[in-house]
Protein backbone atom coordinates (compact mmCIF):
# COMPACT_ATOMS: atom_id res chain seq x y z
CA UNK A 1 0.00 0.00 0.00
CA UNK A 2 2.74 2.35 1.02
CA UNK A 3 4.65 1.54 -2.13
CA UNK A 4 1.61 2.19 -4.25
CA UNK A 5 1.08 5.49 -2.48
CA UNK A 6 4.64 6.65 -2.99
CA UNK A 7 4.46 5.50 -6.60
CA UNK A 8 1.39 7.71 -7.12
CA UNK A 9 3.21 10.49 -5.33
CA UNK A 10 6.27 10.26 -7.56
CA UNK A 11 4.04 10.25 -10.64
CA UNK A 12 2.22 13.29 -9.30
CA UNK A 13 5.54 15.08 -8.69
CA UNK A 14 6.64 14.27 -12.21
CA UNK A 15 3.37 15.56 -13.65
CA UNK A 16 3.63 18.76 -11.61
CA UNK A 17 7.15 19.21 -12.89
CA UNK A 18 6.10 18.84 -16.52
CA UNK A 19 3.12 21.17 -16.10
CA UNK A 20 5.23 23.87 -14.47
CA UNK A 21 8.23 23.31 -16.70
CA UNK A 22 6.39 24.00 -19.95
CA UNK A 23 5.88 27.59 -18.79
CA UNK A 24 9.62 28.01 -18.28
CA UNK A 25 9.98 26.43 -21.69
CA UNK A 26 7.75 29.01 -23.37
CA UNK A 27 9.70 31.83 -21.74
CA UNK A 28 12.95 30.14 -22.78
CA UNK A 29 11.85 29.92 -26.44
CA UNK A 30 11.41 33.69 -26.48
CA UNK A 31 14.84 34.17 -24.90
CA UNK A 32 16.35 31.71 -27.34
CA UNK A 33 15.01 33.50 -30.45
CA UNK A 34 16.11 36.93 -29.22
CA UNK A 35 19.50 35.63 -28.11
CA UNK A 36 19.94 33.60 -31.28
CA UNK A 37 19.41 36.50 -33.66
CA UNK A 38 20.83 39.42 -31.66
CA UNK A 39 23.02 37.86 -28.93
CA UNK A 40 21.04 39.90 -26.40
CA UNK A 41 20.09 38.36 -23.06
CA UNK A 42 16.55 39.70 -22.82
CA UNK A 43 16.27 39.73 -19.03
CA UNK A 44 12.93 41.57 -19.13
CA UNK A 45 11.15 38.51 -20.53
CA UNK A 46 9.85 37.35 -17.13
CA UNK A 47 8.59 40.82 -16.27
CA UNK A 48 6.84 41.04 -19.64
CA UNK A 49 5.13 37.73 -18.88
CA UNK A 50 3.87 39.14 -15.58
CA UNK A 51 2.74 42.30 -17.40
CA UNK A 52 0.61 40.18 -19.73
CA UNK A 53 -0.67 38.18 -16.78
CA UNK A 54 -1.93 41.50 -15.39
CA UNK A 55 -3.54 42.38 -18.72
CA UNK A 56 -5.33 39.06 -18.67
CA UNK A 57 -6.31 39.64 -15.03
CA UNK A 58 -7.74 43.09 -15.71
CA UNK A 59 -9.55 41.96 -18.85
CA UNK A 60 -11.21 39.32 -16.69
CA UNK A 61 -11.98 41.56 -13.71
CA UNK A 62 -13.00 44.79 -15.42
CA UNK A 63 -14.49 43.56 -18.68
CA UNK A 64 -15.43 40.02 -17.73
CA UNK A 65 -13.38 38.54 -20.59
CA UNK A 66 -12.67 34.84 -20.15
CA UNK A 67 -8.88 34.42 -19.55
CA UNK A 68 -8.50 32.03 -22.49
CA UNK A 69 -10.49 34.32 -24.75
CA UNK A 70 -8.16 37.16 -23.80
CA UNK A 71 -5.41 35.32 -25.71
CA UNK A 72 -6.83 36.86 -28.90
CA UNK A 73 -6.08 40.29 -27.47
CA UNK A 74 -2.98 39.62 -25.39
CA UNK A 75 -0.90 37.74 -27.95
CA UNK A 76 -1.39 40.31 -30.77
CA UNK A 77 -0.57 43.07 -28.28
CA UNK A 78 2.56 41.12 -27.44
CA UNK A 79 3.53 40.80 -31.10
CA UNK A 80 3.03 44.52 -31.73
CA UNK A 81 4.83 45.43 -28.51
CA UNK A 82 7.70 43.18 -29.55
CA UNK A 83 8.09 44.94 -32.90
CA UNK A 84 7.77 48.33 -31.22
CA UNK A 85 10.33 47.38 -28.59
CA UNK A 86 12.83 46.31 -31.22
CA UNK A 87 12.35 49.39 -33.41
CA UNK A 88 12.27 51.79 -30.47
CA UNK A 89 14.84 50.36 -28.08
CA UNK A 90 17.01 47.57 -29.44
CA UNK A 91 17.52 48.47 -33.11
CA UNK A 92 20.86 50.21 -32.54
CA UNK A 93 21.96 48.02 -29.64
CA UNK A 94 21.51 44.85 -31.68
CA UNK A 95 24.10 46.02 -34.18
CA UNK A 96 26.71 46.98 -31.58
CA UNK A 97 29.71 44.85 -30.81
CA UNK A 98 29.27 45.50 -27.07
CA UNK A 99 26.42 43.23 -26.04
CA UNK A 100 26.18 44.79 -22.58
CA UNK A 101 24.21 47.68 -24.02
CA UNK A 102 21.35 45.44 -25.11
CA UNK A 103 21.49 43.57 -21.82
CA UNK A 104 21.29 46.82 -19.88
CA UNK A 105 18.40 48.19 -21.92
CA UNK A 106 16.60 44.97 -21.06
CA UNK A 107 17.48 45.43 -17.38
CA UNK A 108 16.22 49.03 -17.52
CA UNK A 109 13.02 47.84 -19.15
CA UNK A 110 12.64 45.22 -16.44
CA UNK A 111 13.06 47.81 -13.65
CA UNK A 112 10.69 50.19 -15.40
CA UNK A 113 7.85 47.77 -16.11
CA UNK A 114 8.22 46.14 -12.68
CA UNK A 115 8.05 49.52 -10.96
CA UNK A 116 5.16 50.80 -13.07
CA UNK A 117 3.17 47.69 -12.24
CA UNK A 118 3.94 48.07 -8.53
CA UNK A 119 2.98 51.75 -8.52
CA UNK A 120 -0.12 51.30 -10.65
CA UNK A 121 -1.47 47.99 -9.48
CA UNK A 122 0.13 47.42 -6.08
CA UNK A 123 2.46 44.68 -4.92
CA UNK A 124 -0.19 42.32 -3.57
CA UNK A 125 -0.35 38.92 -5.27
CA UNK A 126 -3.24 38.51 -7.71
CA UNK A 127 -4.94 35.42 -9.04
CA UNK A 128 -7.83 34.75 -11.38
CA UNK A 129 -10.65 32.64 -10.06
CA UNK A 130 -13.10 31.45 -12.69
CA UNK A 131 -15.84 28.82 -12.58
CA UNK A 132 -13.39 26.22 -13.88
CA UNK A 133 -10.29 27.18 -11.86
CA UNK A 134 -10.85 24.41 -9.32
CA UNK A 135 -11.84 21.77 -11.90
CA UNK A 136 -9.51 18.82 -11.97
CA UNK A 137 -9.31 15.35 -13.42
CA UNK A 138 -8.51 12.68 -10.88
CA UNK A 139 -7.52 9.46 -12.63
CA UNK A 140 -6.01 6.81 -10.31
CA UNK A 141 -5.50 9.09 -7.32
CA UNK A 142 -3.64 11.71 -9.36
CA UNK A 143 -4.56 15.36 -9.41
CA UNK A 144 -4.62 17.04 -12.84
CA UNK A 145 -6.01 20.57 -12.62
CA UNK A 146 -7.90 21.67 -15.72
CA UNK A 147 -6.11 25.03 -16.06
CA UNK A 148 -2.68 23.41 -15.89
CA UNK A 149 -3.61 20.90 -18.58
CA UNK A 150 -4.82 23.70 -20.83
CA UNK A 151 -1.55 25.49 -20.09
CA UNK A 152 0.39 22.40 -21.16
CA UNK A 153 -1.66 22.14 -24.34
CA UNK A 154 -1.13 25.84 -25.12
CA UNK A 155 2.63 25.50 -24.61
CA UNK A 156 2.88 22.48 -26.88
CA UNK A 157 0.75 24.07 -29.60
CA UNK A 158 2.74 27.30 -29.39
CA UNK A 159 6.01 25.41 -29.68
CA UNK A 160 4.74 23.47 -32.69
CA UNK A 161 3.52 26.74 -34.18
CA UNK A 162 6.91 28.42 -33.77
CA UNK A 163 8.76 25.40 -35.15
CA UNK A 164 6.49 25.31 -38.21
CA UNK A 165 6.84 29.05 -38.67
CA UNK A 166 10.64 28.79 -38.64
CA UNK A 167 10.57 25.85 -41.05
CA UNK A 168 7.83 26.74 -43.51
CA UNK A 169 7.82 30.50 -44.00
CA UNK A 170 10.50 32.50 -45.73
CA UNK A 171 10.97 35.02 -42.93
CA UNK A 172 10.97 32.15 -40.43
CA UNK A 173 13.81 30.46 -42.28
CA UNK A 174 15.60 33.79 -42.35
CA UNK A 175 15.32 33.99 -38.54
CA UNK A 176 16.75 30.50 -38.25
CA UNK A 177 19.54 31.30 -40.67
CA UNK A 178 20.39 34.50 -38.80
CA UNK A 179 20.66 32.54 -35.55
CA UNK A 180 23.34 30.47 -37.19
CA UNK A 181 25.26 33.16 -39.03
CA UNK A 182 24.12 36.78 -39.06
CA UNK A 183 26.76 38.01 -41.48
CA UNK A 184 26.09 35.34 -44.08
CA UNK A 185 22.35 35.91 -43.80
CA UNK A 186 22.81 39.62 -44.35
CA UNK A 187 25.01 38.91 -47.36
CA UNK A 188 22.17 36.85 -48.81
CA UNK A 189 20.16 40.07 -48.93
CA UNK A 190 18.05 39.60 -45.83
CA UNK A 191 17.55 42.69 -43.74
CA UNK A 192 18.73 42.03 -40.17
CA UNK A 193 16.11 44.50 -38.91
CA UNK A 194 13.26 42.45 -40.32
CA UNK A 195 14.67 39.26 -38.84
CA UNK A 196 15.23 40.87 -35.47
CA UNK A 197 11.74 42.42 -35.46
CA UNK A 198 10.25 39.01 -36.12
CA UNK A 199 12.33 37.43 -33.35
CA UNK A 200 11.13 40.07 -30.91
CA UNK A 201 7.54 39.80 -32.14
CA UNK A 202 7.49 36.03 -31.56
CA UNK A 203 9.38 36.34 -28.27
CA UNK A 204 7.04 38.91 -26.75
CA UNK A 205 4.00 37.25 -28.33
CA UNK A 206 4.99 34.06 -26.52
CA UNK A 207 5.39 36.11 -23.35
CA UNK A 208 1.72 37.06 -23.82
CA UNK A 209 0.79 33.40 -24.07
CA UNK A 210 2.86 32.52 -21.00
CA UNK A 211 1.25 35.48 -19.20
CA UNK A 212 -2.20 34.01 -19.74
CA UNK A 213 -0.93 30.64 -18.49
CA UNK A 214 0.54 32.24 -15.36
CA UNK A 215 -2.62 34.24 -14.73
CA UNK A 216 -4.91 31.22 -14.97
CA UNK A 217 -2.76 28.83 -12.95
CA UNK A 218 -0.84 30.77 -10.29
CA UNK A 219 -1.00 33.86 -8.18
CA UNK A 220 1.54 36.46 -9.26
CA UNK A 221 2.99 39.82 -8.23
CA UNK A 222 5.20 42.31 -10.12
CA UNK A 223 8.44 40.86 -8.72
CA UNK A 224 7.73 37.30 -9.80
CA UNK A 225 9.12 38.13 -13.25
CA UNK A 226 12.80 38.19 -12.35
CA UNK A 227 12.77 34.77 -10.66
CA UNK A 228 10.88 33.54 -13.70
CA UNK A 229 13.46 34.74 -16.20
CA UNK A 230 16.32 33.23 -14.19
CA UNK A 231 14.56 29.88 -14.41
CA UNK A 232 13.97 30.42 -18.12
CA UNK A 233 17.73 30.99 -18.54
CA UNK A 234 18.46 27.71 -16.77
CA UNK A 235 15.90 25.99 -19.01
CA UNK A 236 17.61 27.51 -22.02
CA UNK A 237 21.01 26.20 -20.97
CA UNK A 238 19.64 22.73 -20.24
CA UNK A 239 17.94 22.51 -23.61
CA UNK A 240 20.75 24.08 -25.57
CA UNK A 241 20.80 27.71 -26.65
CA UNK A 242 19.37 28.15 -30.12
CA UNK A 243 16.92 25.27 -30.32
CA UNK A 244 13.16 25.86 -29.99
CA UNK A 245 12.06 22.37 -29.01
CA UNK A 246 15.21 22.14 -26.88
CA UNK A 247 14.08 25.19 -24.94
CA UNK A 248 10.69 23.62 -24.22
CA UNK A 249 12.26 20.32 -23.18
CA UNK A 250 14.83 22.19 -21.10
CA UNK A 251 11.95 23.88 -19.31
CA UNK A 252 10.34 20.51 -18.65
CA UNK A 253 13.63 19.12 -17.32
CA UNK A 254 13.98 22.07 -14.99
CA UNK A 255 10.36 21.70 -13.87
CA UNK A 256 10.97 18.03 -13.06
CA UNK A 257 14.18 18.82 -11.22
CA UNK A 258 12.53 21.51 -9.12
CA UNK A 259 9.41 19.49 -8.42
CA UNK A 260 11.40 16.48 -7.21
CA UNK A 261 14.03 18.43 -5.28
CA UNK A 262 11.55 20.72 -3.55
CA UNK A 263 9.75 17.62 -2.28
CA UNK A 264 12.77 15.60 -1.20
CA UNK A 265 15.10 18.48 -0.20
CA UNK A 266 12.84 21.43 0.66
CA UNK A 267 14.62 24.79 0.48
CA UNK A 268 17.47 23.51 -1.68
CA UNK A 269 15.66 23.27 -5.00
CA UNK A 270 16.99 26.58 -6.32
CA UNK A 271 20.55 25.73 -5.30
CA UNK A 272 20.25 22.34 -7.02
CA UNK A 273 18.84 23.96 -10.15
CA UNK A 274 21.74 26.43 -10.27
CA UNK A 275 24.22 23.64 -9.55
CA UNK A 276 22.94 21.56 -12.47
CA UNK A 277 22.94 24.73 -14.56
CA UNK A 278 26.64 25.29 -13.80
CA UNK A 279 27.57 21.70 -14.54
CA UNK A 280 25.71 21.80 -17.84
CA UNK A 281 27.34 25.10 -18.81
CA UNK A 282 30.77 23.72 -18.02
CA UNK A 283 30.58 20.23 -19.38
CA UNK A 284 27.79 20.28 -21.95
CA UNK A 285 27.29 23.89 -23.04
CA UNK A 286 25.48 22.77 -26.19
CA UNK A 287 22.65 21.49 -23.98
CA UNK A 288 21.72 18.06 -22.68
CA UNK A 289 19.69 17.10 -25.72
CA UNK A 290 22.23 17.61 -28.44
CA UNK A 291 24.63 14.83 -29.21
CA UNK A 292 28.08 16.18 -28.40
CA UNK A 293 30.22 17.38 -31.22
CA UNK A 294 33.82 16.40 -30.61
CA UNK A 295 36.06 19.41 -30.22
CA UNK A 296 38.71 19.71 -32.85
Amino acid sequence: MLELLSFTLVIQLLINGVLFGTMYGIAAIGLSLIFGTMRIMFLAQGTMIIFFAYLCYWAFHLLGVDPYLSLVIVVPIGVLLGIGMYQGLFREAAALEDKNIGLLIAVGLMFLVEALMTVGWGGTPRAISTSYTSHAFRPAGLDLPFTKLIGLLMSILATVGVVLFLKKTFIGMAVKAASEDVVATTLMGISPHRVNSVAFAIGIGLAGLAGVEVATVYSFDPFFGFAFVLNALIALALGGIGSVTGALLGGIMLGLLQSLSSFFLPGWSDAIAYGVFLLVLMFKPEGLLVRSVKKA
Binding site: E92, N100, I105, G108, A115, V119, A237, G267, W268, G275
Partner: protein, 312 residues
Protein backbone atom coordinates in the same frame (compact mmCIF):
# COMPACT_ATOMS: atom_id res chain seq x y z
CA UNK B 1 51.59 71.24 -18.29
CA UNK B 2 48.86 68.71 -19.02
CA UNK B 3 50.75 65.98 -17.17
CA UNK B 4 50.97 67.95 -13.97
CA UNK B 5 47.40 69.29 -14.03
CA UNK B 6 45.45 66.05 -13.47
CA UNK B 7 47.40 64.87 -10.36
CA UNK B 8 47.11 68.32 -8.79
CA UNK B 9 43.40 68.39 -9.50
CA UNK B 10 43.00 64.90 -8.02
CA UNK B 11 44.85 65.89 -4.84
CA UNK B 12 42.78 69.07 -4.46
CA UNK B 13 39.48 67.24 -4.92
CA UNK B 14 40.57 64.57 -2.44
CA UNK B 15 41.59 67.16 0.15
CA UNK B 16 38.33 69.04 -0.29
CA UNK B 17 36.35 65.83 0.13
CA UNK B 18 38.43 64.74 3.12
CA UNK B 19 37.83 67.98 5.04
CA UNK B 20 34.07 67.92 4.47
CA UNK B 21 33.14 66.17 7.78
CA UNK B 22 35.18 68.82 9.61
CA UNK B 23 33.17 71.64 8.03
CA UNK B 24 29.63 70.27 8.19
CA UNK B 25 28.14 68.21 11.01
CA UNK B 26 28.61 64.63 9.77
CA UNK B 27 25.73 63.31 11.90
CA UNK B 28 23.17 65.65 10.38
CA UNK B 29 24.49 66.37 6.91
CA UNK B 30 22.81 64.38 4.18
CA UNK B 31 25.71 65.33 1.92
CA UNK B 32 28.09 63.23 4.06
CA UNK B 33 25.71 60.27 3.86
CA UNK B 34 25.23 60.80 0.13
CA UNK B 35 28.97 60.84 -0.52
CA UNK B 36 29.52 57.80 1.71
CA UNK B 37 27.07 55.84 -0.44
CA UNK B 38 28.65 57.19 -3.61
CA UNK B 39 32.12 56.07 -2.37
CA UNK B 40 30.80 52.55 -1.70
CA UNK B 41 29.32 52.42 -5.19
CA UNK B 42 32.57 53.68 -6.70
CA UNK B 43 34.43 50.77 -5.07
CA UNK B 44 32.12 48.05 -6.41
CA UNK B 45 31.84 49.84 -9.74
CA UNK B 46 35.64 49.88 -10.15
CA UNK B 47 35.72 46.22 -9.11
CA UNK B 48 33.37 45.33 -11.94
CA UNK B 49 35.23 47.68 -14.26
CA UNK B 50 38.46 45.68 -13.87
CA UNK B 51 36.98 42.27 -14.56
CA UNK B 52 34.34 43.24 -17.14
CA UNK B 53 35.30 46.65 -18.49
CA UNK B 54 39.00 45.94 -19.03
CA UNK B 55 39.18 42.13 -19.18
CA UNK B 56 35.82 41.52 -20.87
CA UNK B 57 34.66 38.83 -18.41
CA UNK B 58 31.11 39.83 -17.46
CA UNK B 59 30.92 38.71 -13.84
CA UNK B 60 27.33 38.55 -12.61
CA UNK B 61 28.40 37.07 -9.28
CA UNK B 62 29.74 40.24 -7.66
CA UNK B 63 27.06 40.10 -4.98
CA UNK B 64 28.64 36.88 -3.72
CA UNK B 65 31.99 38.64 -3.20
CA UNK B 66 30.37 41.65 -1.60
CA UNK B 67 28.27 39.51 0.73
CA UNK B 68 31.18 37.24 1.58
CA UNK B 69 33.21 40.30 2.59
CA UNK B 70 30.43 41.46 4.90
CA UNK B 71 29.98 37.97 6.36
CA UNK B 72 33.74 37.57 6.91
CA UNK B 73 33.80 40.76 8.97
CA UNK B 74 30.78 39.61 10.96
CA UNK B 75 32.31 36.15 11.61
CA UNK B 76 35.66 37.53 12.71
CA UNK B 77 33.94 40.01 14.98
CA UNK B 78 31.32 37.76 16.54
CA UNK B 79 33.60 34.74 16.98
CA UNK B 80 36.43 36.95 18.20
CA UNK B 81 38.93 35.43 15.78
CA UNK B 82 41.73 37.97 15.35
CA UNK B 83 41.59 39.90 18.66
CA UNK B 84 42.21 43.17 16.86
CA UNK B 85 39.28 45.37 17.83
CA UNK B 86 37.17 44.68 14.70
CA UNK B 87 35.46 48.06 14.38
CA UNK B 88 37.30 49.80 11.51
CA UNK B 89 40.09 47.34 12.06
CA UNK B 90 42.41 47.12 9.03
CA UNK B 91 43.24 43.45 9.69
CA UNK B 92 39.56 42.47 9.69
CA UNK B 93 38.92 44.50 6.57
CA UNK B 94 41.90 43.07 4.72
CA UNK B 95 40.78 39.54 5.60
CA UNK B 96 37.28 40.44 4.39
CA UNK B 97 38.85 41.31 1.08
CA UNK B 98 40.99 38.17 0.95
CA UNK B 99 38.26 35.60 1.68
CA UNK B 100 36.33 36.62 -1.47
CA UNK B 101 39.64 36.34 -3.35
CA UNK B 102 39.80 32.69 -2.28
CA UNK B 103 36.26 32.18 -3.59
CA UNK B 104 37.21 33.97 -6.82
CA UNK B 105 40.16 31.60 -7.33
CA UNK B 106 38.11 28.51 -6.48
CA UNK B 107 35.30 29.37 -8.90
CA UNK B 108 37.57 31.13 -11.37
CA UNK B 109 39.63 28.06 -12.24
CA UNK B 110 36.71 25.93 -13.49
CA UNK B 111 34.46 28.74 -14.77
CA UNK B 112 37.00 30.93 -16.52
CA UNK B 113 38.83 28.03 -18.11
CA UNK B 114 35.67 26.48 -19.55
CA UNK B 115 33.20 29.30 -20.10
CA UNK B 116 33.53 32.24 -22.45
CA UNK B 117 31.44 35.33 -23.06
CA UNK B 118 27.78 35.06 -22.14
CA UNK B 119 28.30 31.58 -20.75
CA UNK B 120 30.68 32.91 -18.10
CA UNK B 121 28.14 35.63 -17.27
CA UNK B 122 25.45 33.00 -16.73
CA UNK B 123 27.79 30.72 -14.79
CA UNK B 124 28.91 33.47 -12.42
CA UNK B 125 25.26 34.39 -11.86
CA UNK B 126 24.60 30.77 -10.92
CA UNK B 127 27.52 30.79 -8.46
CA UNK B 128 26.27 34.01 -6.87
CA UNK B 129 22.80 32.59 -6.35
CA UNK B 130 24.20 29.33 -4.93
CA UNK B 131 26.34 31.26 -2.43
CA UNK B 132 23.25 33.17 -1.35
CA UNK B 133 21.27 29.97 -0.78
CA UNK B 134 24.19 28.44 1.14
CA UNK B 135 24.18 31.41 3.51
CA UNK B 136 20.38 31.28 3.93
CA UNK B 137 20.65 27.56 4.65
CA UNK B 138 23.78 27.93 6.80
CA UNK B 139 21.76 27.41 9.99
CA UNK B 140 23.26 28.55 13.27
CA UNK B 141 26.63 29.29 11.74
CA UNK B 142 25.41 32.01 9.36
CA UNK B 143 22.26 32.96 11.25
CA UNK B 144 20.11 31.72 8.37
CA UNK B 145 17.75 34.19 6.74
CA UNK B 146 17.94 36.56 9.71
CA UNK B 147 21.72 36.79 9.43
CA UNK B 148 24.21 38.08 11.98
CA UNK B 149 23.78 41.13 14.20
CA UNK B 150 26.83 43.18 15.10
CA UNK B 151 27.05 45.20 18.35
CA UNK B 152 25.82 48.62 17.18
CA UNK B 153 26.68 50.29 20.54
CA UNK B 154 30.24 50.84 19.30
CA UNK B 155 28.96 53.45 16.80
CA UNK B 156 30.51 56.82 17.48
CA UNK B 157 30.30 58.99 14.42
CA UNK B 158 29.60 59.02 10.70
CA UNK B 159 33.05 60.49 9.98
CA UNK B 160 35.11 57.26 10.06
CA UNK B 161 32.67 55.66 7.63
CA UNK B 162 33.00 58.62 5.36
CA UNK B 163 36.81 58.64 5.47
CA UNK B 164 37.10 54.88 5.04
CA UNK B 165 34.69 55.07 2.11
CA UNK B 166 36.75 57.86 0.56
CA UNK B 167 39.93 55.86 1.11
CA UNK B 168 38.48 52.73 -0.51
CA UNK B 169 37.11 54.74 -3.45
CA UNK B 170 40.56 56.25 -4.00
CA UNK B 171 42.23 52.88 -3.52
CA UNK B 172 39.98 51.18 -6.08
CA UNK B 173 40.43 53.96 -8.62
CA UNK B 174 44.20 53.91 -8.02
CA UNK B 175 44.24 50.11 -8.48
CA UNK B 176 42.52 50.50 -11.83
CA UNK B 177 44.83 53.38 -12.79
CA UNK B 178 48.08 51.58 -11.99
CA UNK B 179 47.04 48.12 -13.14
CA UNK B 180 45.89 49.42 -16.50
CA UNK B 181 49.19 51.21 -17.05
CA UNK B 182 51.22 48.11 -16.23
CA UNK B 183 52.00 45.04 -18.32
CA UNK B 184 49.20 43.28 -16.50
CA UNK B 185 46.77 45.86 -17.82
CA UNK B 186 48.05 45.32 -21.31
CA UNK B 187 47.48 41.58 -20.95
CA UNK B 188 43.95 42.15 -19.58
CA UNK B 189 42.99 44.38 -22.48
CA UNK B 190 44.53 41.96 -24.96
CA UNK B 191 42.29 39.22 -23.52
CA UNK B 192 39.26 41.48 -23.87
CA UNK B 193 40.02 42.32 -27.48
CA UNK B 194 40.93 38.86 -28.69
CA UNK B 195 41.49 35.96 -26.37
CA UNK B 196 42.89 33.59 -28.98
CA UNK B 197 45.31 36.17 -30.26
CA UNK B 198 46.42 37.02 -26.72
CA UNK B 199 47.06 33.35 -25.99
CA UNK B 200 49.05 32.93 -29.18
CA UNK B 201 51.24 35.86 -28.16
CA UNK B 202 52.15 34.04 -24.98
CA UNK B 203 49.74 35.68 -22.55
CA UNK B 204 48.74 33.14 -19.86
CA UNK B 205 45.04 33.89 -20.41
CA UNK B 206 43.54 31.87 -17.58
CA UNK B 207 45.96 33.26 -14.99
CA UNK B 208 45.23 36.87 -15.95
CA UNK B 209 41.47 36.29 -16.06
CA UNK B 210 41.60 34.82 -12.55
CA UNK B 211 43.79 37.71 -11.43
CA UNK B 212 41.21 40.20 -12.73
CA UNK B 213 38.36 38.33 -11.03
CA UNK B 214 40.40 38.16 -7.81
CA UNK B 215 41.03 41.92 -7.85
CA UNK B 216 37.32 42.51 -8.40
CA UNK B 217 36.52 40.13 -5.55
CA UNK B 218 39.00 41.85 -3.22
CA UNK B 219 37.53 45.32 -3.80
CA UNK B 220 33.93 44.08 -3.58
CA UNK B 221 34.80 42.26 -0.33
CA UNK B 222 36.36 45.40 1.20
CA UNK B 223 33.25 47.36 0.31
CA UNK B 224 31.03 44.62 1.75
CA UNK B 225 33.00 44.77 4.98
CA UNK B 226 32.55 48.54 5.27
CA UNK B 227 28.86 48.35 4.45
CA UNK B 228 28.44 45.50 6.93
CA UNK B 229 29.81 47.51 9.84
CA UNK B 230 27.70 50.45 8.68
CA UNK B 231 24.35 48.66 8.91
CA UNK B 232 25.47 46.37 11.81
CA UNK B 233 23.30 43.61 10.40
CA UNK B 234 24.63 41.12 7.88
CA UNK B 235 21.85 39.05 6.30
CA UNK B 236 21.46 37.27 2.96
CA UNK B 237 18.60 39.39 1.68
CA UNK B 238 20.47 42.69 1.93
CA UNK B 239 24.15 41.66 1.67
CA UNK B 240 23.80 39.00 -1.02
CA UNK B 241 21.18 40.91 -2.98
CA UNK B 242 21.58 40.81 -6.75
CA UNK B 243 21.47 44.63 -6.64
CA UNK B 244 25.14 44.52 -5.61
CA UNK B 245 25.83 43.04 -9.02
CA UNK B 246 23.32 45.06 -11.05
CA UNK B 247 24.08 48.51 -9.59
CA UNK B 248 27.80 48.49 -10.34
CA UNK B 249 27.09 47.33 -13.90
CA UNK B 250 24.59 50.11 -14.27
CA UNK B 251 27.03 52.69 -12.93
CA UNK B 252 30.02 51.54 -14.96
CA UNK B 253 28.10 51.39 -18.21
CA UNK B 254 26.33 54.68 -17.62
CA UNK B 255 29.61 56.35 -16.73
CA UNK B 256 31.69 54.68 -19.41
CA UNK B 257 32.96 51.08 -19.52
CA UNK B 258 36.68 50.45 -19.58
CA UNK B 259 37.64 53.95 -18.54
CA UNK B 260 39.24 55.06 -15.29
CA UNK B 261 36.87 57.87 -14.38
CA UNK B 262 33.71 56.53 -16.03
CA UNK B 263 32.72 54.37 -13.04
CA UNK B 264 33.35 57.30 -10.68
CA UNK B 265 31.08 59.57 -12.72
CA UNK B 266 28.49 56.80 -13.11
CA UNK B 267 28.47 55.99 -9.38
CA UNK B 268 28.06 59.62 -8.31
CA UNK B 269 25.45 60.25 -10.99
CA UNK B 270 23.37 57.19 -10.13
CA UNK B 271 23.62 57.82 -6.37
CA UNK B 272 22.28 61.30 -7.06
CA UNK B 273 19.47 59.89 -9.21
CA UNK B 274 18.54 57.39 -6.50
CA UNK B 275 18.63 60.13 -3.85
CA UNK B 276 16.51 62.57 -5.87
CA UNK B 277 14.04 59.85 -6.80
CA UNK B 278 13.82 58.80 -3.14
CA UNK B 279 13.07 62.32 -1.94
CA UNK B 280 10.75 63.60 -4.62
CA UNK B 281 9.11 60.53 -6.10
CA UNK B 282 9.20 58.00 -3.29
CA UNK B 283 7.20 55.40 -5.17
CA UNK B 284 8.74 56.19 -8.51
CA UNK B 285 12.36 55.41 -7.54
CA UNK B 286 12.69 52.36 -9.79
CA UNK B 287 10.59 53.92 -12.56
CA UNK B 288 13.04 56.80 -12.84
CA UNK B 289 16.13 54.59 -12.67
CA UNK B 290 14.67 52.22 -15.24
CA UNK B 291 13.85 55.01 -17.66
CA UNK B 292 17.24 56.57 -17.15
CA UNK B 293 19.11 53.37 -17.92
CA UNK B 294 17.11 52.96 -21.11
CA UNK B 295 17.61 56.56 -22.22
CA UNK B 296 21.36 56.64 -21.51
CA UNK B 297 21.98 53.27 -23.15
CA UNK B 298 19.73 54.02 -26.09
CA UNK B 299 21.19 57.42 -26.92
CA UNK B 300 24.72 57.38 -25.55
CA UNK B 301 26.02 53.82 -25.48
CA UNK B 302 29.51 55.11 -24.59
CA UNK B 303 28.25 56.44 -21.29
CA UNK B 304 28.35 59.87 -19.76
CA UNK B 305 32.12 60.11 -20.12
CA UNK B 306 31.52 60.13 -23.88
CA UNK B 307 29.99 63.59 -23.42
CA UNK B 308 33.33 65.02 -22.32
CA UNK B 309 35.27 66.04 -25.42
CA UNK B 310 38.64 64.34 -25.63
CA UNK B 311 41.65 66.58 -25.65
CA UNK B 312 44.38 66.07 -28.22
Amino acid sequence: MKNIRSPILAVLVTLALATLPLIVDPEKSSLVYFLFLAFCYIVIAQAWNIVAGYTGQISLGQHAFFGLGAYTTAFIWLYDLTKTGYYFDPVTMALSGLVPVVLAIIIGIPLLSRLRGDYFALGSLGVGQIVKILFIKGGFFTGGADGLHLPSRVYTSMSPYYWTGLFLALLSTAVVYFVIRSNTGLALRAIREDETSAASHGVPVLMYKILALAMAAFLAGLCGSLYGIYVFHVNPESMLNLDWTLYPILMVVIGGTGTILGPVIGAIFMTAVFAVADVFFVQMHAVISGMLIIVVMRFMPNGLIGLIPRKG
